[in-house]
């Protein structure tokens, strides 16, 4: 098992938190505390009141969990919800049909398997997003999970930062390829080495989606790794003191950085950091080593690069071959692969998994995957350590449970928030739009021929679907009570980060999938060669040909 092993102290934290919340719920039910006083407390335990019921957002810390935990989530979905869960763009899992009176029992059940819903909502530091390929990818400078766990502990119940101006999201990436959208976070941390080979972080501050998207500027090129927590303290303190509190739409740190200016903001942070007594805040080497060790060591076998079993199977089974082409990523160890499990079967709700599917993934992970499962910000799952020899049987098992859709990063691998079907904040539905588009491109040959195309859909300006970072971004808006959708093009949440630009006037719901088809057709006709991605063709040619394709009558306007 290569999950951070909770020790007695970690477990007592979860137990004490669950007990505290039980008391707070009782006081709310008896009228001892008002809804206004209770709301931040329940939000800080991940409990929202949504359109149909309460929604519970369970933390999957930096997207990592094991089979036991996934089974527990499946059981919770059965015992307290309606038999399914939704994986989110911040690598958490949501249950949509929760009752307040059950929440304390659910937290106890979670705590029993080292899970919780701590700080998954509220104006506090949220779950850290880390590279889902951590510990498996060859191009990693250091394991981001170690640092994510350090941040998790430092930020959990941090007394000074529990009532921030607004929510706060941190991402840690350790590879050249950014699978976390780090620059679109409040703080993005990129592991790096300086010329002397010292380990540290490039620190980016002030990114964010939402009403006004920003890419965070780098405020420090190199921060020695051991100073991470004190530096974060400095950033958070500056934000806590200076972030706006008069207008919730202007309260994120991205607004503060933009209005102060990156240079001046960096100066404020450096000044605070210099004045801080850093030593008591930063983790001693011993503790960092303890955390690293607590992740365990994966007992990799020494295997040849080529697996005869796998080669024979994929030669015989075109479906396996297609799955391997699209959903596998190279592993740092010879004879292993990283397996991506798509939760985007065309026609299904993106990111949803049934209890049976969760249990199937748990079983496969336990038997063939070193009991290691990750969640990605694209609402998919990953088995980071699978032997090539085992791929045929893993694929067969995934297929049995509808978990073998071979569409990673393709047009049908759509990110969509729950939208107006579930969320009290939404203006429009996102799920049916995703389903429409996915059904249109469901033919696997077609999707593969199109190549990498990231479609991201949000049901409101809060942008939980990350539409600003979509190659095709779609934003649901409310136009005189009807659902309309604004298309934007050219966004990216990867290391080539960019914000999507609005293409033209919003379209009614039934015209969205045809518009996407028109965009795809335009791209196929314009690309310089099949290797040129949609995003690259757009960047090369600009919006004009795409606008023309969608708004064919535009010249008449």
């Amino acid at each position: 098992m290569s999950l951070y092993a909770y020790d007695q102290i970690d477990r007592e934290m979860l137990a004490d938190r669950a007990a505290e919340f039980r008391g707070q719920v009782a006081r709310r039910l008896s009228g001892d505390i008002s809804e206004d006083q209770f709301k931040p407390l329940r939000l800080m335990n991940g409990l929202y009141l949504q359109l149909h019921a309460y929604m519970l957002r369970v933390a999957i810390p930096y997207g990592a969990l094991d089979g036991r935990q996934l089974r527990a989530l499946a059981a919770i979905s059965r015992d307290f919800d309606k038999g399914y869960g939704h994986f989110t763009t911040r690598t958490n899992i949501q249950f949509h049909w929760i009752r307040l009176k059950d929440a304390p029992d659910i937290l106890d059940r979670l705590a029993a398997v080292d899970l919780h819903a701590i700080q998954t909502s509220g104006n506090c530091i949220r779950n850290v997003t880390a590279d889902p390929y951590a510990g498996a990818t060859a191009e990693e400078i250091d394991d981001p999970r170690v640092w994510s766990e350090a941040i998790r502990q430092w930020s959990t119940f941090h007394p000074e930062f529990t009532y921030l101006p607004r929510k706060f999201k941190i991402a840690v990436t350790g590879s050249a390829k950014d699978r976390t959208a780090a620059r679109a976070h409040d703080i993005g941390l990129k592991l790096t080495r300086n010329r002397e080979g010292q380990l540290g972080f490039e620190v980016m501050v002030g990114g964010g989606m939402g009403r006004t998207p920003y890419l965070g500027p780098t405020i420090r090129q190199f921060l020695p790794a051991r100073s991470l927590l004190s530096y974060l303290t400095a950033i958070l303190r500056v934000y806590n003191r200076l972030g706006r509190r008069d207008n919730i739409y202007k309260a994120r740190i991205k607004i503060l950085v933009a209005s102060t200016g990156a240079e001046e903001f960096a100066r404020l942070v450096e000044a605070e950091w210099a004045a801080l007594d850093q030593a008591p805040i930063d983790l001693p080497d011993l503790e960092l080593a303890r955390i690293r060790t607590a992740f365990g060591v994966v007992p990799f076998e020494t295997l040849p690069a080529r697996s005869d079993v796998f080669e024979a199977a994929r030669a015989a089974d075109p479906a396996l071959a297609r799955f391997a082409r699209n959903n596998l990523a190279p592993h740092k160890r010879s004879g292993y692969a990283i397996v991506n499990i798509s939760l985007k079967a065309p026609g299904e709700t993106p990111g949803d998994a049934t209890a049976a599917q969760m249990e199937a993934v748990a079983a496969v992970a336990e038997r063939y995957g070193q009991d290691d499962i990750r969640v990605t910000h694209a609402q998919n799952l990953v088995l980071p350590h699978v032997k090539l020899d085992d791929l045929p049987v893993v694929f067969a098992e995934l297929q049995r449970h509808g978990l073998a859709t071979p569409n990673l990063d393709l047009v049908t691998d759509i990110i969509a928030c729950p939208g107006l079907d579930y969320c009290a904040l939404a203006n429009a539905r996102a799920i049916p739009i995703a389903q429409d588009i996915a059904r249109r491109f469901a033919a696997p040959d077609r999707a593969e021929a199109i190549g990498e195309l990231k479609v991201k859909i949000s049901g409101c300006i809060n942008a939980c679907g990350h539409h600003h970072a979509g190659h095709i971004g779609i934003l649901g808006v409310d136009k005189k009570g009807e659902e309309f959708y604004q298309l934007s093009l050219g966004g990216s949440g990867a290391e080539d980060a960019s914000l999507a630009a609005i293409l033209g006037p919003a379209l009614p719901a039934d015209q969205v999938a045809p518009a996407v088809e028109a965009l795809v057709d335009a791209y196929l006709g314009l690309r310089s060669d099949p290797a040129e991605r949609f995003l690259d063709t757009y960047r090369r040619l600009g919006p004009a040909p795409f606008k023309e394709a969608v708004y064919a009558d535009a010249h008449q306007a």
Binding site: A53, Y54, H96, T349, L420, D421, Y422, G481, E483
Partner: protein
């Protein structure tokens, strides 16, 4: 004047409920429809005095034939999610549910009569 209904979420389980005139019910078709703002406001005031029963009661606009809430959002609250037609209130089926599902037109996006600030 527009017909109105009074709705809220139940504190204990978060379920969407409507005031029937006598008790809090789960189906929109059992909701009392007000055609006069005074009793509607009075019922709302009473509901706001029940913080251990309800969260955030408010009035919603209803179509002239009384079949459905005006706003799309309120229709979804009265039905359930469109990606799982077997879940939520819509699972009960029947004519009243069908009437909400097939209701046409909507003007007020949130359905709340006391509109919170909305950018034009």
């Amino acid at each position: 004047m527009t017909l109105q209904a009074l709705t809220a979420n139940r504190l204990l389980d978060g379920d969407v409920v409507f005031w029937s005139g006598e008790r809090w019910v789960e189906q929109f078709s059992d909701a009392h429809l007000y055609d006069d703002p005074e009793p509607a406001e009075a019922a709302l005031a009473t509901a706001k005095g029940l913080p251990t029963v309800l969260v955030d009661p408010y009035l919603i606009a209803v179509t002239d034939d009384g079949a459905a809430p005006v706003s799309f959002r309120e229709r979804i609250r009265a039905l359930g999610p469109s990606d799982h037609l077997e879940l939520g209130k819509q699972a009960e089926g029947g004519a009243a549910i069908a009437a909400i599902q097939h209701a046409h037109g909507s003007a007020l996006s949130t359905g709340r009569l006391s509109l919170i600030r909305r950018k034009p």
